[in-house]
Subunit: 191 residues, 2 copies
DNA sequence: GTCAATCTTGACGATGATGTCAAGAATGAT
DNA sequence: ATCATTCTTGACATCATCGTCAAGATTGAC
């Protein structure tokens, strides 16, 4: 069994994403990845180099899915509806699984195991892109809220989503998160 | 040099707090604590049992300081002023030091190294108390905003503070955090 | 069919952390 | 002054993880 790669890379990365999501970059070990993927540790090292390289691939896959879902949820003419959809989506996203997996981006941002700048950069990228996505939705919806205004508000909204992720980790239930998000949207979106 | 404790417990805990704040519960090792406090590892084990016990003491010290400062900052008749003070305080709190230490509570909430329920419980306690503190401020300031309304908003505000802590970790500057907080207060407090 | 390339496998060494312990030392009580 | 108590110290055993590597195996190209 050798000579050519014995595993499907996409599957391995998808499985690795699941492991990282459940355990976090720091706590997931190469052994965890090997066990979950069925690929030996040595093969993983041979194929990817190290854990962080695997993480980066998995994280890219994750952000792709996430931003796509966010864009879809936000795609409504009415800003309030868009935001409600969006919050529903991310709350389900972070409270899914048992135990809940939480938000991978937030967890990664807080993970001190970040020696390389690369990981940090990716986190900033997602947050920045999310901010832009939301900013566009806001300026498109409310003609009166344009430019700097929408951008500032977009950042506030992104910040709030990070807060929800922390609250989830602190033990708040999906229902509680939803209530907070609803209150937030009502207050901020000025609906 | 023995027979009686050779170190000042308060000083040791204060120093330990500094270490935990900079490195996090997970990443701070007993060796780090020993080096920072000047107390040998063995003595620390003898005196406290294990790392988590030391952390709990340090964290209690931290939350005491933090909630006191929060209460002081929030002690204003005008809700908007109270909130602005409060956000100023926590933003300085989390961006202080070089590199910035971030928010210990948030970091701890995300730290997966939490096997014991105790740590998690303390985190929930701080957040809960903070929520109450803010709730009181809100109901006291705005007569029209009472009961459930103030409580819901208080939780939204606590959530937002957690978001700021994450954004700080993601690399946002003190200035950026302040801008977001200001936008948030303007929008939410309905000032 | 042969061979070079490359993947797989299991073992190895290094490292860093945890928690324990026995021996030594100094204090406070009697 | 003596002694039990208790702290300190350094060493020890254990464990988990990382990253490397040589040997074996298999494939695809020629």
């Amino acid at each position: 069994m050798a000579g050519v790669r014995q595993f499907n890379e996409d599957e391995v990365i998808a499985t690795a994403l699941d492991v990282f999501w459940r355990k976090g970059l720091r706590d997931a070990t190469m052994q965890d990845l090997a066990a979950a993927t069925g690929v030996q540790r040595g093969s993983l090292y041979n194929a990817y180099g190290d854990k962080e390289a695997i993480f980066l691939r998995a994280f890219d896959q994750y952000t792709g899915q996430f931003l796509e879902a966010a864009g879809y949820a936000l795609d409504h003419a009415d800003a309030a509806t868009a935001l409600r959809n969006f919050f529903d989506m991310i709350i389900v996203n972070m409270t899914d699984g048992s135990p809940a997996r939480g938000c991978l981006t937030t967890r990664t941002a807080l993970d001190a195991a970040i020696s390389s700048t690369e990981v940090r950069q990716r986190v900033q990228d997602v947050l920045g892109r999310l901010e832009q996505l939301i900013g566009k939705t806001l300026s498109a919806a409310h003609g009166r809220r344009r430019g700097a205004d929408a951008n500032r508000l977009a950042r506030v909204i992104v910040t709030f989503t990070r807060g929800l992720a922390v609250m989830e980790r602190a033990g708040y239930s999906r229902k509680q998160l939803r209530e907070s998000a609803a209150t937030f949207v009502d207050a901020v979106a000025g609906v």
